[in-house]
Every structure is written in C-alpha cells, then in structure tokens.
C-alpha cells in the first residue's frame, strides 16, 4: 500500500499511524517533521510544484517499498502557511520486521528533503526569507544512494 498526499489541511498523524497497522506488519515506523517553535519563526510558508511533487513522492515511496519489501509506505506533506509547532510532514512505513520499517522511514525523509519540489519560506514578524538548501541534507540523502543493504539485521 502506497499513499502520497500533498495537502493544505493540518496533518492527522494518529489516523495515518493507525492505518499502517496492516496484517503481516510486525513493525511500524514514523517520522513527523514540525515547524520549530524555538527559532523566532512566526510563519512557515511552503510552496510546491503541483504534479511534480506527487510524482516525486510516489517514486520515493515505490523505491522504498521495493528495496525493503514494505507492507505500506505513506508520505503526507503539508503546503501553505503554518505556525510553529504544526506538522509539516509525516512519513510512515510498515514491514514484517523492524529494521526494514526503520531504515525505509529514514530513507524516505532523507531523500524527500533533496528530491521533492518543496520550498520553505520563513517569516519572522515582518521579515521573510527563503530557506537555503543545506549541504548536510545532500550528505544524508547520499547515504542511501549507494545500493548498500542495511547494516542492521532484519
């Protein structure tokens, strides 16, 4: 089961997490990204490339499913304006064993950061600036690019 959603509405993580608990699943992993509430940001505004975004996320979810034999992979990304503390993104995976679910979840959020066409604009009161891409995100994504199998057992 692959599910990819780009939405304006707030993300309901409890519904998403529960939906991953499918027959055969021994482990469900999730990652939720939040607007940091501690760095002076008053609004996070997220722009995306409609159509291309959904295609990129579907490609990632399919790649993770194939590589780790997932039972389910879900990616939900919010766009538009959001406040500190709100959820920006949810990634969830289900697999027979925990290592597959955990590795696939980390893979999806790492790769999403560099491969899905979203752009963040931070507002701090009247000041607004586009967030710069981080080299560290490229490094994190590159970890998964080599066709290395996990160093953890399943």
């Amino acid at each position: 089961m692959i599910r990819v959603i780009v939405q304006q509405a707030p993300i309901d993580t409890s519904v998403l997490l529960g939906a991953l608990e499918l027959p055969g699943a021994g482990g469900v992993a999730s990652f939720t990204g939040l607007v940091r509430a501690d760095d002076g940001v008053t609004v996070l505004d997220l722009e995306h490339y409609p159509g291309a975004t959904e295609a990129a996320l579907t490609d990632l979810a399919t790649a993770a499913s194939d590589r780790w034999g997932l039972i389910a992979a879900v990616i939900v990304h919010r766009v538009g304006r959001m406040a500190p503390g709100e959820r920006v993104v949810f990634v969830g995976t289900a697999a027979a064993h925990r290592a597959s679910a955990l590795d696939a979840c980390a893979f999806l959020i790492d790769r999403l950061k560099t491969e899905a066409p979203f752009w963040k604009r931070e507002e701090r009161g009247a000041d607004a600036r586009w967030v710069e891409a981080r080299d560290a995100d490229e490094v994190a994504a590159a970890r998964w690019r080599a066709d290395r199998t996990s160093d953890r057992p399943d």
């Binding site: 990204g33 997220l46 722009e47 995306h48 490339y49 159509g51 291309a52 295609a55 990129a56 990304h77 920006v88 993104v89 959020i109 999403l112 950061k113 560099t114 491969e115 899905a116 066409p117 979203f118 752009w119 963040k120 604009r121 586009w130 967030v131 710069e132 891409a133 995100d137």
Partner: protein, 85 residues
C-alpha cells in the same frame, strides 16, 4: 515551438510571475541555454538567473541537470534547490 515555463520560490518572486509561455530560437538546445536566453527578457529574469549554480530544473516534471536537452519539452520548471521535509 512554444513551451510553458514555470518558476518557483525566489525565482518566481524575482521574475514576478509563476508561469509564462515562450518560443525560444533553435539555438537554445539545453536548459542552461534557455536560462541564458530568458535572462534577457527582463531585469527580474536577469536577477533570478544571475547565478546558475543556485538553479535547478525539471523538464516535463522530471528533475534534470542544467545541461539536459529541451527538445520536445512541453513544460520546463526553473527553481532553487528544494527545501521540503
């Protein structure tokens, strides 16, 4: 041939529009050629495209390097490195 050009984030803001249709001459072969050619359209284009190292592109919704050919493309998007997640 006419092609739809899309801009996102600060590229869109600098140019002042998110989409336009253009008909580049035959000498425009790659995305990089297109960017150089588009730079002449306005002061906003020139500013947005001043540093091609800061630009990324997609042809028909697939990410491509800037030296990719644009022959046959219907939609070309030009934007900064992505920052989602």
């Amino acid at each position: 041939m006419a092609v739809d050009i899309l801009y996102f984030a600060w590229v869109r803001e600098a140019i002042g529009t998110g989409a336009e249709q253009v008909t580049p001459p035959d000498t425009v072969v790659s995305v990089a050629d297109l960017i150089a050619w588009l730079s002449g359209r306005s002061e906003g284009h020139r500013r947005a495209f001043a540093d091609p190292d800061r630009l990324r592109a997609a042809v028909d919704q697939r990410f491509v390097p800037l030296d990719a050919a644009i022959a046959g493309a219907r939609e070309i998007a030009i934007f900064p490195p992505v920052t989602g997640g």
